[in-house]
């Protein structure tokens, strides 16, 4: 007789148990696998009722992590209308149309099955009811995603679609949620559902939670709550709820106004930085040298076209194209500027009106030149990835990266220019010549060379402005004309010969314009600003910050 020690029994038992567990779990897994397969195959049914049952069955299988990804993928494809079944074996596949070919992938194994003829497939259609259901399921599944951004968008998708049944689930998720913005969105979502609750306390609580929310749906909900009938009485009869709703709305309006204010400031600074870039080169040629250069706008345009050409030359490196375009545009426009100065302007010093006319002629020639070379149509300049997109603070306030980059860039150019004028030998000579030409010459400064260099510098900066503008507007032969009058006004408004004045004038005009626009409309705002500057110049003919001392004479 074999003696079984307790330990052995124990061990055996353990083995058996372990085997049992293994079998059960594997059969479970198999069961789940097979249930996913059967559930998904049910989708090929004709009636929407049956499809709905199939979707519910598929949803049931999404218990494990891997499976939930698979289910999510299937539901999303179904919603996007990319789910088909093969007519031959009723196999469910995801279709990706590539260049007119139907590329199919098996939903179960996620294997690529190659290209198939369209006639062998049948699309699985959905109706609105199913779509709603799909969206809510997709949101539920997305809520388990590791990426907070996915969870956030899932919550936002659920707003308006979720019902009281979801509240419990979301509350559970709220407890484990770590990301604060997802948490906030969840609370808003719960409040949005609970606002329709039967319980008065719950409703008031929900309203208090929604108070100050920036979610557009929250505002709509509260506005609909505050609707009046034809006699002007509120439809809602309960005083407490009305009171809470009015309070919540006031808070929301306040916050919205604040952010709208920030947005206007941002757009204003953005417009101001464009004006600054366009005007700052002019501030040098006009302010420091006293030369009216009507072709300044065309030098900006040349900078923008240089960007276009640079991108044509390096189509695979669009990301870096702007880094190349900035120095390239500076050099190209600078050379054009030097050519204009040497060829025309130097014969006209001391005759500002003639300079104005001659440079206007040059601007016409440059415009036609561009039209002849690049065609009169607008050219599109691509925006690198790192400049596209936006920094989102909340649902109603976001800052686009390209505008932000241009604000920073314009300030950088401004600082660089200040540095050149104040700290370099060229800057010293420029200032000397602009203050007293004969004296500077007597000190051994080659004033002609300084003139050419100064003009080249101002023109080069116009080119750099063109690179920035190419990211905001269309690049066409008329690009320069749009900005020339504005930039002259900025320079005159700020005070000729004063770079700080140009900065202040550009930024304040930009912000002023954006605050006027919603009140008066875009065109009227522009007209009003023109009239304002015309009147301002009458009052202070030398601008905001007039030059003082000897250089202010003449």
């Amino acid at each position: 007789m074999k003696h079984y020690s307790p330990l052995t029994i124990h061990k055996n038992l353990f083995t058996v148990l372990f085997a049992l567990i293994l079998t059960i779990s594997s059969t479970l897994a198999v069961a789940e696998e097979s249930s996913f397969v059967t559930a998904s195959s049910m989708l090929s049914a004709k009636k929407f009722k049956e499809k709905e049952m199939a979707i519910e069955a598929v949803m049931q299988t999404a218990k494990t992590k891997e499976n939930s990804v698979r289910v999510l993928n299937l539901l999303q494809s179904l919603l996007a209308g990319k789910l088909y079944y093969k007519k031959s074996d009723k196999k469910i596949v995801v279709v990706n149309k590539v260049d007119g070919d139907y590329l199919i992938t098996d939903v179960i194994s996620n294997q690529n099955l190659g290209v198939i003829s369209k006639r062998k497939l049948k699309k699985i259609t959905v109706n609105n009811k199913l779509r709603r259901k799909l969206r809510s399921y997709i949101s539920q599944l997305s809520l388990e995603n590791d990426d907070p951004a996915v969870r956030l968008s899932a919550i936002q998708n659920m707003m308006g679609a979720a019902t009281a049944e979801h509240v419990k689930d979301i509350r559970k998720k709220l407890l484990v949620e770590k990301n604060s913005s997802v948490k906030g969105a969840m609370q808003t979502l719960i409040a949005l559902i609970e606002i329709d609750s039967e319980n008065k306390e719950v409703r008031v609580g929900a309203l208090n939670n929604l108070s100050g929310s920036l979610e557009p749906k929250a505002l709509n909900k509260i506005i609909s709550l505050l609707e009046k009938d034809d006699d002007g009485n509120y439809l809602e009869k309960d005083k407490d709820i009305l009171y809470a709703a009015i309070k919540a709305k006031r808070k929301i309006d306040e916050r919205r106004d604040t952010y709208a204010f920030f947005e206007k400031i941002f757009f204003g600074l953005s417009l101001g930085s464009v004006l600054l870039l366009a005007a700052i080169g002019l501030a040098i040629t006009f302010g420091v040298m006293g030369v009216i250069n009507m072709a300044h706008g065309e030098l900006i345009m040349i900078g923008a076209y240089t960007t276009y050409v640079v991108q044509l030359l390096m189509p695979n490196y669009i990301e870096y194209s702007l880094l190349v375009a900035v120095p390239a545009a500076f050099i190209v426009s600078g050379l054009f500027g030097i050519a204009i100065e040497r060829g025309v302007i130097r014969f006209l010093y001391g005759r500002p009106l003639e300079t104005l006319l001659a440079t206007f002629g040059i601007s016409l020639i440059l415009q036609q030149l561009v039209r002849s070379i690049f065609s009169p149509l607008n050219r599109s300049v691509e925006t690198p990835m790192w400049m596209s997109g936006a920094l989102e603070f909340n649902p109603i306030f976001s800052i686009t990266y390209n505008r932000l980059t241009i604000i920073i860039f314009s300030l950088f150019v401004f600082a660089l220019l200040m540095l050149i004028l104040k700290k370099t030998s060229l800057g010293l000579k420029v200032r000397a010549v602009s203050q007293n030409r004969p004296m500077a010459r007597a000190m051994g400064i080659r004033s002609e060379w300084v003139d050419a260099m100064t003009f080249g510098l101002g023109s080069g900066i116009a080119g750099v402005a063109g690179v920035a503008l190419s990211q905001l507007t269309n690049v066409g032969p008329n690009l320069g004309q749009t900005y020339i009058i504005d930039s002259f006004l900025v320079v005159v408004f700020g005070g000729v010969g004063n770079l700080w004045g140009t900065l202040v004038a550009a930024m304040s005009l930009g912000v002023f314009n954006k605050f006027l626009e919603p009140v008066a409309g875009a065109v009227l705002a522009k007209i009003l600003i023109l009239i304002f500057i015309i009147l301002f110049i009458q009052k202070k003919p030398r601008g905001l910050f007039p030059q003082k001392g000897r250089s202010a004479e003449n």
Binding site: L353, I365, R371, V523, L524, I531, I534, P541
Partner: protein, 370 residues
């Protein structure tokens, strides 16, 4: 004294040539158009007559600019605005004459207002169905604008390029304003589809010839009037201001008022030119306000030679003939040519074609004497 200035003008050789040519045109053009049979090579088509009338309107506008630029040194880059305002005043009268013959057949409202669903005529359109009222407005509106602008600008001593840029901003602001449908001036389509003026059909040859003759006559009269201004005491002070503004002021002249009144007169002439222009070309739209038009006008005067008045006329006609030719035959080249004209004239011909002519005449006289 006054009589003597007029006889002085009529005795001046260049004025005699200029007025003589105008009289010649006024006689020959109607004859060639109306009396010579259509198939003769001497026949002048109505199209050509209209084109010549257009040039003469531009010549009138050029005289207006030469008056302020050539004699007072005020380079206005916004004279096109006064021209367009005069044109709009005339256009509004012509619009009201359409009556119920418009596309919508509404006797009360012009077509574009019906299109915009307007119920009644805006207040500033009232009175424009009367010819005399429209004619007053042709002079009053540009004159008033010039007065307000000039009063503000000259009093605060905005001069030189600042003034030029301000005038450019002025016409630019008006351009933007007139493009708006809400302004009530037809938006970017402007005013067009005119039928008749004072009951005469605008399409008929006789009306066209009459308009041409009126333009020619106005040009001659304006020339004598402007010449009179420049030769009078007022004109002498203006020239003094151009050459040394501060000295004129120190002597005791009110520089601001002199400049202001000259500016207003010039604007009124520009308005009249616009009013003559619109019935001949049959349309007025906000494009006339564009800064490019005003600056092109400057080059007409520069090409002809400023400070002579007839130089402005010669420049206007030559440049516009060139424009008609180039935009028809070689449209690509026109802007190159115009741009080069700006550069070359300022660099090499500061006194324009008339300056060249004077130079040649002087040299010729010297040679004769030797």
């Amino acid at each position: 004294m006054q009589g003597s200035i007029i006889s002085q003008i009529l005795n001046e050789k260049n004025s005699q040539i200029f007025l003589g040519i105008l009289i010649f045109i006024a006689v020959v053009v109607p004859v060639l158009n109306l009396l010579v049979p259509v198939d003769s090579i001497f026949h002048l088509s109505t199209y050509t007559v209209t084109l010549m009338g257009k040039y003469l309107c531009f010549a009138l506008l050029a005289i207006a600019l030469d008056l302020v630029w050539g004699y007072a040194g005020i380079l206005s880059l916004g004279h096109g605005a006064f021209f367009a305002l005069g044109g709009y005043a005339m256009g509004m009268y012509l619009m009201r004459q359409i009556g119920d013959r418009g596309v919508y057949g509404n006797a009360e409202l012009p077509d574009f207002m019906v299109f915009l669903n307007w119920q009644e005529l805006p207040w500033f359109w009232h009175g424009f169905d009367q010819f005399w009222f429209a004619m007053i407005m042709v002079a009053l509106v540009p004159g008033l604008l010039a007065f307000i602008f000039g009063w503000l600008a000259f009093r605060s001593r905005v001069t030189g390029v600042y003034l030029s840029i301000m005038t450019q901003a002025l016409t630019y602001a008006l351009l933007l304003a007139f493009f708006r449908n809400e302004m009530g001036f037809g938006g970017n389509n402007g005013l067009t589809d005119f039928k008749d003026i004072l009951g005469f059909n605008l399409q008929s040859d006789n009306t066209r010839i009459t308009l041409f003759l009126i333009t020619t006559f106005t040009l001659a009269a304006t020339y004598i009037f402007c010449k009179y201004i420049t030769m009078s005491k007022f004109g002498r002070v203006i020239i003094a201001i151009r050459d040394a503004e501060d000295r004129a002021r120190f002597i005791g002249y009110k520089v601001e008022s002199y400049k202001l009144w000259l500016f207003v007169i010039s604007a009124v002439i520009a308005g009249i030119a616009g009013a003559l222009y619109v019935p001949q070309v049959g349309i007025i739209n906000p494009g006339e306000f564009s800064p490019l038009n005003s600056i092109e006008l400057v080059v007409w005067v520069a090409v002809g030679g400023r400070g002579t008045l007839y130089g402005a006329v010669v420049g206007a006609i030559l440049v516009n003939y060139g424009k008609t030719y180039f935009t028809g035959a070689l449209p690509e080249v026109w802007l190159f040519a115009l741009g080069a004209l700006f550069v070359l004239v300022t660099l090499y011909l500061p006194k324009g074609i008339m300056g060249l002519y004077e130079q040649y005449k002087q040299r010729y006289n010297k040679e004769v004497k030797v």
